[in-house]
């Protein structure tokens, strides 16, 4: 579904982060991208989101080359994604309002878009319906991320990109949201790609794990982690093994 073909990307005057990089993601997969800071994991996510442009090579999704944000791709960032002056309900509605604002033009909103603004079922699904009239400053970090997830899922994306979405949250809330995210992606048939710097999170979330090293990245380091996402996976030896492997690989990568 996602084809990264011969991707080269770098910020000007610097060593490229990616050089002739190839990578493929199939529909319905859940991926974790891990690597130390500066390895380019966030850049890769922004490239997939159409917010950055490759220096050369191309990224195509469903056969279409990405040149700008694509209506079917949702993006959730660590923080600051909510409008401070809007309530939870208004923030969650924002994606729909942006689409209503442009109409179904196929560029900002899919051509099949129908005007709608009923966000409440999504707020209920994410357990934040009772916070609908609160402002972001009045709710917890976990609740803010639930709002961001509701806002994105209300647009019925087929790909969900997440950039360290839970790294500022408490452990219990983080695990809750990790499970909820996997559950929702399964339920909605969404392909998930999550960037993280935490080994444990990568091991829990990614049935496949992409490990990025020091730039330039030329070949994807891929680790299979088939049973991730199952309940109680954290308690298994398999989980501990993949954590160990990833830790070793990351240490080797760090000069």
């Amino acid at each position: 579904m996602i084809r990264v073909h011969s991707l080269t990307f770098g910020y000007s005057q610097q060593l490229p982060i990616f050089q002739s990089f190839d990578w493929t993601v199939e529909r319905g997969e859940t991926w974790a991208i891990i690597g130390s800071s500066g390895c380019g994991k966030t850049s890769l996510l922004y490239l997939l989101a159409g917010l950055l442009k490759p220096t050369s090579g191309e990224i195509s999704i469903e056969g279409e080359v990405i040149a700008r944000p694509r209506p079917g791709t949702g993006l959730i960032l660590q923080e600051y994604g909510l409008l401070p002056w809007s309530t939870v309900r208004q923030n969650a509605e924002l994606g729909l309002r942006v689409r209503n604002f442009y109409g179904p033009d196929g560029r900002h909103a899919p051509q099949s878009h129908q005007r709608s603004q009923n966000i409440m079922p999504w707020l209920e699904r994410l357990g934040i319906a009772h916070l609908a009239d609160k402002y972001p400053s009045q709710i917890s970090g976990g609740e803010r991320q639930r709002t961001a997830i509701a806002r994105t899922l209300a647009l019925h994306p087929d790909i969900l990109l997440m950039d360290e979405p839970f790294s500022s949250l408490d452990a219990v809330i983080r695990e809750d949201l990790q499970s909820l995210t996997l559950e929702l992606c399964e339920e909605q048939g969404i392909t998930l790609i999550m960037v993280t710097h935490a080994i444990e999170e990568a091991a829990v979330m990614g049935r496949k794990i992409l490990l990025l090293g020091q730039p330039p990245n030329t070949k994807p380091g891929i680790f299979a982690n088939q049973n991730a996402g199952n309940a109680e996976y954290r308690q298994t030896n398999e989980y501990l093994e993949i954590c160990k492997t990833l830790r070793r690989e990351l240490n080797d990568e760090t000069p």
Binding site: Y46, A49, G50, L51, P69, P71, T73, G74, L75, I76, L77, Q78, E79, Y80, G81, L82, L83, P84, W85, S86, T87, L94, G95, R97, V98, R99, F101, Y102, R107, H108, A109, K134, Y135, S137, Q138, A148, R151, T152, L155, L161
Partner: protein, 246 residues
């Protein structure tokens, strides 16, 4: 701040005035009771016309500055390149007390309302540009990336991010400078006009030596300033409810 506390403070100030007037005991400082009586009788004898003339000048100057300074501030704050070019200019012009331009503006724009409105415009314009620019520049890039990923282009970013983000900055700028604007309006209305509270106060105080009427004018001008200040407060509560939670 509680409304009751504000009323109590007003009462305290009036008592202080009354005591001072009784101590001084000269025509140049009449008591608040005398002034209040004259204030109401003067309202029907032209004071309200003068007040309306002043109010119109302040409102027109404010509207004009908001309508021009907000787009300018958003444009500068939203573009690092433009900011680099314009900021040194603003940096030089911003601290200059605009009131010194009153004679210049009167020379260029003459005796009509245009000169008075231009002066108020000049004072408010820089305040609003600076605050809106800083507000726009301080918006976290993550906010824009999130919105662009939701499909927002330039127009939607303007509608859903820049415009609402500039509102509190506009109101802060107005709160900070509306008092100055009224003060400078007084100066501007001393010259080449026979309408406006500035003229009314000066004419009654220096030419007619009608001190109670002069103080009635001072009261009217204070009420004008206070009214504008309260209006800004009220607008902020209506337009920025998120600032008043917690």
């Amino acid at each position: 701040m509680k409304r009751r506390d504000v009323l109590l403070a007003a009462l305290g100030l009036l008592i202080l005035w009354q005591a001072a007037a009784m101590l001084v005991n000269r025509p140049i400082l009449p008591t608040p009771i005398v002034v209040t009586r004259v204030f109401f009788s003067e309202l029907t004898r032209g004071l309200s016309d003068h007040a309306l003339a002043s109010l119109w000048r302040v409102m027109a100057g404010t509207m004009l500055s908001v309508l021009t300074a907000v787009p300018a501030g958003l444009a500068v704050g939203g573009s690092a390149r433009l900011n680099r070019f314009v900021s040194p200019i603003i940096y030089l012009l911003y601290p200059i007390p605009k009131v010194v331009f009153v004679p210049v503006i009167l020379l260029f724009l003459g005796i009509g309302d245009a000169a008075k409105i231009a002066i108020i415009f000049l004072i408010l314009f820089f305040q609003i540009v600076v605050l809106v620019r800083d507000q726009a520049a301080a918006l976290p890039p993550q906010l824009f990336q999130s919105l662009r990923s939701l499909g927002a282009g330039r127009r939607a970013l303007f509608r859903f991010v820049y415009l609402p983000a500039s509102l509190p900055a506009i109101l802060t700028a107005l709160r900070q400078s509306v008092g100055t604007a009224v003060a400078v309006l007084y100066i501007a209305e001393l010259f080449a006009t026979q309408r406006g509270l500035g003229y009314y106060i000066y004419y009654n105080g220096s030419t007619l030596l009608n001190y109670p009427a002069m103080y009635a004018g001072v009261i009217a001008m204070s009420l004008l300033g206070l009214g504008l200040y309260f209006t800004v407060d009220w607008l902020e509560r209506i337009l920025c409810p998120w600032k008043f939670v917690n």
